[in-house]
Amino acid sequence: MTPALVLRNLVKFFGAQSILHDISLEAAQGELIALVGPSGCGKSTLLRIIAGLERADKGSVVLDDVDVTDLRAADRDMAMVFQSYALYPHLTARQNIALPLAMRRLNSFERMPLIGGLTPATREKRAAIMRDVERTANALRITELLDRKPAQMSGGQRQRVALGRAVVRRPKAFLMDEPLSNLDAALRVHTRAEIVALHREAGVVTIYVTHDQEEALGMADRVAVMMGGRILQIASPEAIYHNPDHIDVASFIGSPKINLLPGHVSDGTVIHAGRPLKAGLGGSDRKVTIGIRPEHLHLTTDVTQHSIAVELNRLEFLGSEVIAHLTDPSDGSGLIARLQPGEGHTFRDHTTLQASASTQHVLVFESDGGRARADDNHGRGMAHHAA
């Protein structure tokens, strides 16, 4: 089946500075792709290029097999939800949601406030528009808000009206630019699930931009991690999390941040502070960086084959888990381990413990940031990067 949205080799400059370096991506029909990365990585610019609000300097955008690169945004039949919601303050929720339908179905004469509604044909069109608006409002449960203006609504309500305005049109693609950033944390978790439900129901490809990696992992079918104007990896959330292609992906995704330790490869074995952690790596002897996620770091008092010595600074009891703040005595750097609520009772502050991780959780990165994979390690699930 042909992909719904294809981006080919998009490049964008700002003066002499390069903002997007050769971005390519294929999204399938009905897929939700999260575009995640730190501020300034170019994700919002990319979204605006897909929308048609900005033009790339090179490359093309193809929607449902139609090259839309030269079309303006209004002609592309995509809908966008903005971080600031961008609702028209002088219009009611009803009018806000109706506007895109009015612009498309009525000509400028029919749109005029009083005279436009004179002919029966126009009246029927307007009634049809209102029916669509109400249907959408019902789905989003904002029917009581329809006659209010944005200033009379809370942030969460405005957000739903903004969603309604995007959804009512049944566009070919949804573009969302950090729609949840302005909501408080509790509301965000709730609304996340609703957006995914809306997306599933519409069955349309969605590109969702966010700087929150948790949001990206939780909502997306595939996650594209962007940094410095490039897509470092695009894969399923599990693959991104457990099988990152690049050290920057591993660092950005996951909270608390992944533990990074210096090490070197000797005869195919990865060594840190004299202790072997993983075998089976090919290639010459070289320096590498070792990544182990906090939840994969096991703490024991006994030395094992692959364990390293760490010093326990303190334990933080967080209710559902325990965080252990550790120091690596070999270089003084800080490490973090996540323990289950029951674990750690016997540990005492300022004592030396042993930390270990199972082989497939020891991630090794070359000095250029790329992932070094052992011959027998295929990671979890698919580790493919999309074209």
């Binding site: 609000l53 945004a73 209004a74 966008m80 028209y88 303050p89 002088h90 498309r104 203006k149």
Partner: protein, 304 residues
């Protein structure tokens, strides 16, 4: 506990301290207000009901007749009419021009500051001085304006010397001076509009510049427009310097405006009773303008 104590005494020491500090801070201003605002206003009000003259001891109390006489006085009604015509010429033109120019300047990325400053020059130029310059420009025989008209093959106009044209000539000067101010205000209003709204409009299918204006720009400029219109009208009603410098109300009272008439009645003819009544009417006009615009229009214009 402090709270209980306050409940019993009705006021905490803190409140008392705040109150006396506030009174102390306001005292000088309050005294000034009394001397420079309240008493004079009451005096004008009182005088308006009399036929007092400066330098003459006796005066009669006319009561409401003073106002009745005023509204039947042809000269005063003429001044009223002239002022109204002037405002009708200056206000719409300078507001609309200010808006159009502001939109054009806003679309320009580089030259913005330059154009803004150029258009603002008349606002910071001495009115009396620039009026004199315009007098030279509008001179019937050697003024550049008529020379340009002649060069274009058009008949020359007697700008300031003809009672038919004088208000138009004064209005031209007024517009010239007001446009820059309105422009700066509109520019501020335009740049304050959330850019995302234009993006949202584009996504919604709003294509033409005209539609963009009606869907986003005009509604969002509401408060600014209200302010600009109010200020422009009030300043237009207060026109004085150009008349005093160039026409002194002539030719044949064609440019007698309210403030000039008040000046003449009160300080040239010394009829301070009549002048006071005129002054009260003048304030009344300003009040009505302000009320119409703030009460009636403000509701439609402020969305937050």
């Amino acid at each position: 506990m402090p709270r209980n104590w306050a409940a019993r005494t009705g006021m905490t020491a803190f409140d008392r301290r705040e109150r006396s500090a506030a009174w102390m801070l306001c005292a000088p201003t309050a005294l000034l207000m009394l001397a420079l605002l309240i008493l004079p206003t009451l005096a004008v009000l009182a005088l308006s009901f009399t036929d007092a003259e400066l330098g003459v001891r006796e005066f009669a109390f006319l009561g409401l007749d003073a106002y009745r006489d005023l509204f039947t006085d042809r000269a005063f009604l003429g001044a009223f009419r002239n002022t109204a015509v002037y405002v009708a010429l200056v206000a719409p033109a300078s507001v609309i021009l200010g808006l159009i120019l502001a939109m054009m300047i806003e679309a320009e990325v580089r030259g913005r500051a330059f154009f803004r400053s150029v258009y603002f020059l008349p606002v910071v130029s001495l009115t009396v001085a620039m009026a004199s310059v315009w007098q030279y420009l509008m001179h019937p025989s050697f003024g550049p304006m008529n020379l340009v008209l002649k060069a274009l093959g058009l008949p020359s106009v007697n700008w300031l010397g003809s009672s038919d044209n004088v208000l138009v000539a004064l209005a031209l000067i007024g517009i010239w001076q007001a446009v820059g101010f309105n422009l700066v205000l509109f520019l501020a209003g335009l740049t304050a509009i959330n850019r995302d709204l234009y993006a949202a409009a584009e996504m919604d299918g709003v294509r033409s510049a005209w539609s963009r204006f009606w869907t986003v720009t005009w509604p969002m400029l509401g408060p600014t427009t209200l302010f600009v219109v109010t200020i422009t009208m009030i300043n237009a009603v207060k026109v004085f310097e150009t008349v005093a410098t160039l026409t002194q109300g002539g030719p044949s009272k064609a440019s007698e405006v309210l403030l000039y008439t008040i000046y003449k009645e009160g300080f040239v003819y010394l009829h301070i009773g009549v002048a006071s009544a005129m002054a009260i009417v003048f304030v009344g006009v300003l009040l009505v303008l302000l009320l119409i615009q703030t009460k009636v229009l403000e509701k439609q214009v402020h969305y937050s």
